[in-house]
C-alpha cells in the first residue's frame, strides 16, 4: 500500500494518459460509426459488407494491429496515435452493428410520420431516428468503452504509457504490488466509465423510463 501512496503522482499521470487513450478512440469511433451504421441500416448490400468487415476487424489481434500500423501509415512505433487508431477501429467494429440494429428498430410508422409532416432526411435522422436509437447505441458504447480501457494496456508492450506500464514494470521487477495496483486501477476506471455512460444514457433518454 505504501508503494501506492509513494507513487500517487505517477498513478495520476498514468490515469490521465489511460483515460485519454481509451476515451478519444470511443469518441472518434462513434463519429465514424454513426454514418456507417446509418448506411448499413438503409441499404441491404451496405449492411452485408459493413457488418462482415467490422466483424473481421474485431478478430485482428490488438498487438498485431498496433505493431503493424506504423508500417502501414508510416507513423513512429512509439507514437500513441497507433494505439488510438487501433482502438478506434475496434470501437467502429463494435458500434456499427449496434447502431445499424438500433436504427432498423425505430418504428417505421414513426419514420413515415416524420417524413410525412415535412422532415428532410438529415434533420429526420438527427431529430428523430438517432435519438430513438440512443438507448441501444449507449449499450454499444459501454461495451466499447470497457473493452478499450482494458486494451490500452496492450500499448505498454510497445512502450506507450497507461496502466499497462504498471504491468510491464511489475513483471520485469517481479514486483507484485505494482501489477495488482494496475489491475485494480484498470477495474476501477472501467467501472467509473461504465457508470458515467449509464448515467449520461439515462439523462438523455427520459422517455424510456415513464410508466403509464
Amino acid at each position: 500500500m505504501t508503494w501506492v501512496f509513494d507513487h500517487l503522482g505517477l498513478l495520476g499521470d498514468l490515469t490521465v494518459t489511460h483515460v485519454y487513450l481509451s476515451v478519444l478512440p470511443v469518441l472518434l469511433g462513434l463519429v465514424i460509426a454513426v454514418p456507417l451504421g446509418w448506411a448499413a441500416s438503409r441499404w441491404r448490400p451496405a449492411r452485408a459488407v459493413l457488418l462482415t468487415v467490422s466483424g473481421l476487424l474485431y478478430t485482428i489481434p490488438s498487438l498485431a494491429l498496433i505493431v503493424i500500423l506504423p508500417a502501414l501509415i508510416s507513423t513512429k512505433t512509439l507514437d500513441p496515435v497507433n494505439v488510438i487508431i487501433t482502438l478506434t477501429v475496434y470501437t467502429i467494429a463494435l458500434l456499427v452493428r449496434s447502431i445499424a440494429d438500433a436504427l432498423s428498430s425505430v418504428p417505421p410508422t414513426v419514420v413515415a410520420a416524420a417524413t410525412a409532416i415535412g422532415y428532410r432526411p438529415f434533420k429526420r435522422f438527427v431529430g428523430v431516428e438517432f435519438p430513438l436509437a440512443v438507448p441501444v447505441v449507449v449499450a454499444g458504447l459501454r461495451v466499447a468503452m470497457v473493452s478499450n480501457i482494458s486494451l490500452v494496456s496492450v500499448g505498454a508492450l510497445i512502450g506507450i504509457a497507461g496502466y499497462g506500464q504498471l504491468f510491464t514494470n511489475g513483471f520485469q521487477l517481479q514486483f507484485v504490488t505494482e501489477i495488482v495496483t494496475g489491475i485494480v486501477a484498470t477495474l476501477l476506471l472501467a467501472l467509473v466509465a461504465d457508470l458515467l455512460l449509464q448515467l449520461i444514457g439515462r439523462l438523455v433518454t427520459p422517455w424510456t423510463r415513464v410508466g403509464r
Partner: protein, 400 residues
C-alpha cells in the same frame, strides 16, 4: 366568410397568415393519375377525381385497391407514374416535397407520435420545422391540445403514457399545428377499439364543424366511410375507382355489384340514417318518476309497461307488470327495480334509422323519444317509422 374565420378557434398568427376564405382552399384534383410500382403492379389506374374543398372525402375499399397509395401521392410520399395531382391548381410535383408536406396535415395509423418527445413538443414539431420560435410553437401547441379535447396536464407526458385514443388526438393536433387547409388521414382510427373509435369519429366531425378543412380520409371500414364522409370514393382491387358519391347515394344507388356487395347487406337499413324523421308522429307514453311508489307505477302501466324518468325528466328505463308483481304498494321505485331500456330517439336531430332502432331495441316495443336536451317527450313504434318511410317515398325524398 371572414367573420366565420374569426370564429374559428385559431391563433392570432395564422389569422394573420391566412386571411382568406378557407372554404375555397384545398381543392385536390387527380387527373388521370396512374401509379405502377417497380414490380409492375398497378396500384392506381387512371384515377380522375376532384376532392371538394372544406369537406371530408373518404377513400374506401378492400386492401390492394390503391386507396392509401392515392392518398400518399397527394403529399408526394409516393410519386405518381403518370398523370397529375393538383392542389389548388398547382401540380404537386412543382413543390419541394418537405415544404409541400409541411403545408398539408398528415395523420397516420397508430398516430406515429415521436416517443422521445413530450405531447407538447410532438404537436409543436411542424411549426418548429417551419421556423417558428420554440416558445411560439409551444403556445400554439397548447391551444391545439385544448382544441382536440386534451387537458393541459397531458402536455408534459410522453406518448407511451397515453391511451391509444389520446395518442390519436395528439396526432390530429400535430397535423393541425400550422393550420393547413388540407388534412390527410391514413386509416387513423384502425388501431383503437370500437368504442374509442366511435368517440374519435364523433370528435373529428365536431372539429370539422369548426375548422372546415379539406379532409381526405382513408379507411377499409365502410361504416366509418359512411359516417364521416361528405363524399365517399369506393376503390376496387387494381386501383380502379368504382364509385364516387355522397354516402346516401352510395347506399341507395350502388354503381355495380362490387359496390353493392362492399357497402353490405344492411344498406337498406343504413340508408334510413340519411332520412330525417320530421314526418314521424311521436305518440303518448306513460311515465313515472324515480321515487314514486310502486302503486303509482302499477296504475300508470300502459300495455303492461311504463317508462321511469329521473328528476331532470331523462328516461332511465322501463317497468313492466311482471317486474312490479310482488313489490309492496308503498315501496319507492328505485334504480335497482328499473329494466334498462334500448336506444333513445332524439326528435330534434335523429334520423329514421335512430327512430327505428329505438323502437326495435326497446323491451316494450315502444321506442323512447327525447328532445334535444334529453327530456322524455313520447314514444315511436316501428309501424310509425315504416309509415313515415312510405310517406317520404311518396314525397320523393327516398332515392329510388
Amino acid at each position: 366568410m371572414l367573420e366565420r374565420n374569426a370564429a374559428v378557434r385559431c391563433c392570432g398568427y395564422c389569422l394573420r397568415q391566412y386571411r382568406y376564405d378557407r372554404r375555397d382552399l384545398g381543392v385536390i384534383e387527380f387527373q388521370a393519375v396512374t401509379k405502377r410500382f417497380d414490380d409492375g403492379t398497378v396500384a392506381v389506374d387512371e384515377l380522375n377525381l376532384t376532392v371538394d374543398p372544406g369537406r371530408i372525402t373518404v377513400f374506401v375499399g378492400p386492401s390492394g385497391c390503391g386507396k392509401t397509395t392515392s392518398l400518399r401521392m397527394i403529399n408526394r410520399m409516393i410519386d405518381a407514374t403518370s398523370g397529375a395531382i393538383l392542389v389548388d391548381g398547382k401540380d404537386v410535383r412543382q413543390s419541394d416535397p418537405p415544404l409541400l408536406r409541411r403545408g398539408i396535415g398528415y395523420v397516420i395509423q397508430q398516430a406515429g407520435l415521436f416517443p422521445h418527445r413530450t405531447v407538447l413538443d410532438n404537436v409543436a414539431t411542424v411549426p418548429v420545422l417551419a421556423g417558428w420560435s420554440r416558445a411560439k410553437a409551444r403556445k400554439r401547441a397548447e391551444e391545439l391540445l385544448e382544441t382536440v379535447g386534451l387537458p393541459a396536464s397531458m402536455a408534459g407526458r410522453y406518448p407511451a403514457q397515453l391511451s391509444g385514443g389520446q395518442q390519436q388526438r395528439v396526432g390530429v393536433a400535430r397535423a393541425l399545428a400550422v393550420d393547413p387547409p388540407v388534412l390527410l388521414m391514413d386509416e387513423p382510427f384502425s388501431a383503437v377499439d370500437p368504442v374509442v373509435r366511435e368517440d374519435l369519429q364523433t370528435e373529428l366531425l365536431r372539429l370539422q364543424g369548426e375548422l372546415d378543412k379539406t379532409i381526405v380520409f382513408v379507411t377499409h371500414d365502410i361504416d366509418e366511410a359512411i359516417k364521416l364522409g361528405d363524399k365517399v370514393a369506393v376503390f376496387r382491387t387494381g386501383g380502379i375507382l368504382a364509385q364516387y358519391d355522397k354516402p346516401s347515394e352510395l347506399l341507395a344507388r350502388p354503381a355495380d355489384d362490387f359496390v353493392s356487395n362492399f357497402v353490405g347487406r344492411d344498406r337498406g337499413y343504413r340508408a334510413l340514417g340519411f332520412l330525417t324523421a320530421s314526418g314521424l308522429t311521436v305518440g303518448e307514453i306513460a311515465s313515472v318518476r324515480l321515487g314514486d311508489t310502486a302503486g303509482d307505477a302499477r296504475r300508470k302501466l300502459s300495455d303492461g309497461w311504463v317508462v321511469v324518468v329521473d328528476e331532470r325528466k331523462h328516461p332511465c328505463g322501463w317497468l313492466s307488470a311482471d317486474r312490479l308483481s310482488g313489490v309492496d304498494e308503498q315501496a319507492a321505485v328505485d334504480a335497482d327495480l328499473v329494466l334498462s331500456g334500448g336506444s333513445l330517439y332524439d326528435t330534434e336531430h335523429g334520423s329514421l334509422r335512430s327512430a327505428l332502432d329505438a323502437a326495435l331495441s326497446s323491451p316494450s316495443a315502444q321506442g323512447v323519444a327525447v328532445n334535444g336536451s334529453g327530456e322524455l317527450v313520447g314514444s315511436v313504434t316501428a309501424d310509425e317509422v315504416l309509415r313515415a318511410l312510405a310517406a317520404a317515398r311518396t314525397a320523393g325524398e327516398v332515392p329510388q
